[in-house]
Symmetry: C2
Subunit: 459 residues, 2 copies
């Protein structure tokens, strides 16, 4: 088997440039799932992925619709190793919108290598990660001694909350059955710090709309007589935190699992110190619950963020309008055992108590994701941990992470498949921001680590 492993690693090294060319090819497709306008491009990315799988020798490749309106899942499988375990490869081929466009140094869908980085929307999150998985499997297949069976589930709705993935997994649970899922969407702490993520935060994303007068008014003729909805919105949103940075929604912390002393000790060892967060964010001072470390606040504490604000006149110059309407996008990151459903109800309860009679309000649920914790003693975690150690020469960090990955929760819930979460994206990759990029040396190491994982897991 060591021979096969070495053949696979050699193949990967010899094809390094072609893997990069493939990645640039798919990064040029603006598969922005948020907006209907880009629907044809999202489909084009799905077709690209299906063609890629077929080219590798994967069988039964299908572009499977998830719903009438949603984006499809690309499925494929290679099951020619009876008796060997089956690995399900998860990935998403959709990307975040690139706004604000003017801040990109090179166009987001014109992949550009500068130094040892590849710049493009989706390069790190997560087309780069998907191509790394595909490259590892292609290399193992080409060795002639593929150690495992594989299946693929590549979705196109991750950036919009994997809205239809739950139903899809429920309907195709048997087809997706596997011994483990590898999910490389979780990133790593730093280029020298291979990472396995064992906990994920959930998400409850809402839109709060505040309505005042029946139409925009002249602020001179009516200012002082009505509760300005933009002002009322700021009052409601400001009240969602107390002075110490704790969320004030009633019952918000009730179901939050306490961190164990062992977990707190583990957080303390991580390189994600205060200094790390100051450098990564560029803020003048950090903020948040004072009794927790910043990495604990991100990994193991729930939060409430304002993702967007809109009201009235926002272009250059001045318009003396008293706006009829104001809107905030607000999302809560959740930790076990909070649920998005309960959080939404807590927000409704907050608004029912706090909203004044001088305005009307409406709360809309935009998307949800459950929380997740992975068993650290499973075979998948061990195979991945050993693979990462082989390439980086050190044991990976085991962390709880702040993001939400719906697929992890849904695969566990509906198909009984546990995920091993890792990835080769770095905190400084500008994920979801202008100038997103991929650190290529780390990416190539990631391909090697995934090859090791396949042979470890197939032993």
């Amino acid at each position: 088997m060591t021979d096969a492993l070495n053949i696979a690693l050699n193949y990967a090294h010899q094809n390094a440039d072609r893997f990069l060319a493939d990645l640039k090819d798919v990064l040029a497709i603006p598969s922005i799932s948020t907006s209907d306008e880009y629907k044809p491009e999202v489909l084009r990315a799905a077709v690209w992925m299906a063609d890629q799988l077929r080219g590798m020798g994967i069988q039964n490749v299908e572009i499977m619709p998830t719903s009438e309106k949603g984006h499809p899942v690309v499925f494929g499988e290679w099951l020619k190793k009876p008796g060997a375990p089956t690995v399900l490869v998860y990935g998403h081929y959709d990307v975040q919108p690139p706004d604000p466009l003017e801040l990109w140094e090179t166009p987001p869908f014109q992949p550009t290598v500068r130094g040892d980085k590849l710049y493009a929307r989706g390069s790190s999150d997560m087309k780069g990660q998907v191509i790394a998985s595909l490259a590892a499997i292609e290399s193992a297949l080409k060795s002639g001694q593929m150690p495992v069976n594989v299946k693929f589930m590549l979705e196109g709705e991750e950036e919009i909350g994997s809205e239809h993935l739950g139903d899809f997994i429920k309907k195709n649970a048997k087809k997706l059955s596997a011994d483990v899922c590898i999910n490389t969407d979780a990133g790593m702490i730093g280029a020298d710090h291979p990472t396995i993520t064992y906990g994920l935060r959930g998400l409850c994303y809402m839109e709060l709309r505040v309505y005042g007068p029946s139409k925009d008014l002249h602020s001179g003729l009516f200012g002082g007589t009505v509760h300005n909805p933009a002002q009322a919105l700021t009052e409601l949103v400001a009240g969602m935190h107390d002075k110490s940075g704790r969320v004030t929604l009633p019952g918000f912390y009730k179901k939050v699992r306490r961190l164990t002393p062992r977990e707190r000790a583990a957080f303390k060892k991580l390189p994600t110190t205060k200094k790390f967060f100051l450098e990564q964010t560029g803020v003048p001072a950090l903020w948040g619950e004072p009794e927790f470390m910043p990495n604990e606040r991100v990994g193991a504490r729930p939060t409430l963020e304002v993702n967007g604000l809109l009201s009235g006149w926002t272009a250059l110059g001045s318009k003396t309008v008293l706006p009829a309407y104001a809107m905030a996008k607000i999302s809560c990151r959740l930790v076990p055992d909070q649920t998005p459903e309960e959080t939404f109800k807590q927000m409704q309860a907050y608004l029912k108590t706090k909203a004044p009679k001088t305005i009307r309000w409406e709360l809309i649920s935009l998307h949800d994701a459950g929380t997740a914790i992975t068993d650290l003693n499973g075979d998948g975690v061990k195979a991945m941990s050993d693979g990462l150690e082989k390439v980086w020469g050190k044991q990976p960090f085991l962390v709880r992470e702040g993001g939400s990955i719906g697929a992890v929760v849904l695969l566990q819930q509906y198909a009984g498949v546990e995920s091993v979460l890792t990835g080769f994206g770095l905190p400084e990759d500008n994920v979801h921001s202008p100038n997103e990029h991929l650190h290529l040396p780390t990416w190539y190491k990631g391909i090697d680590a995934l090859i090791h994982f396949l042979y470890n897991f197939g032993k």
Copy 2:
């Protein structure tokens, strides 16, 4: 003189349709002064006004630049009545932006009569009022016995705070000298309530920018570690009012003139009751300083309004961004003896005290206007009051109004010319809002009243 008055009134009635056609003609020009994009259209409206004046027989018509970047003033004069008093006619030919466009029932620059209303941006504020003044003067000229001399100062920057008008008036004080200015930009309380406005609120319009992380962040990876600038903005803005609706900027009320018992009694008599404001605004309940009536709060109390909010993701759907930046447009309406300069400093002082160290902020002054109070015993007020009474059969209400009209303050300050403020726009005209319109029966009565004013003032 009565003969001349009747000839002028007859002329106006016979030319009613043509006046309306002229108004529709100039309303079709999108002379939006806020945006550079519309600069050629603003100039086109100036040219239209100049041509119109020349057509009436006005002399020395000039389109006078106010500055390199600003919009011009249209000047003209008719001074063939030595010994008679001189009336300066003020007007503005620029308009507010028509946003949000989708709420207009007919396009804003396609003037449309429905029932007894003319719909178009600027129909009420204030191209309609300007054309009424021009129609009255044309009618008086055509009588062959023009009772007064006239001058015109028609500006193109009223909707952006008359930025260059102060310098223009300073430079042309002699050219603009007159016994009175009539300014029809102040509107009336209702179609049956002719109105002279003797007090105007001033304005201090600011933009508050709050900066957090150096770029947009992923809310999952960083939420809980930095002070979200959108949240910080809501906290700062929410704190600008206390629970009773009073503005909390330090020293804000210090120079506010107290209302006299006589003034409070006059406010009580006005038809602008609580019911009026509820109907005009469509809010579920009124809001504001509880110890003042709504019309006092609009006319004689200073206020602070949020005119715009912008941060992060504001389009459809969800983006889990932790924004780098948040912005609020905020304006204070001021009453004697507040000044915009002091108010701006009070806002700075508030922010210096309240803004946390976790964010950076910046405060920008966008535009200013002083407050104004007119002498109720002047000849101009008397001539206008009698003219309005003649047409409506009742004495006009004397009110203090909530809007700001820079020209009034600047003419007093730099040319020593006092303004008589009236107008034929109604509160329900949707000024600054979609579906702005002009009530035509009131407009025609306004033309008659202005003709009466000319003959009263020239007696």
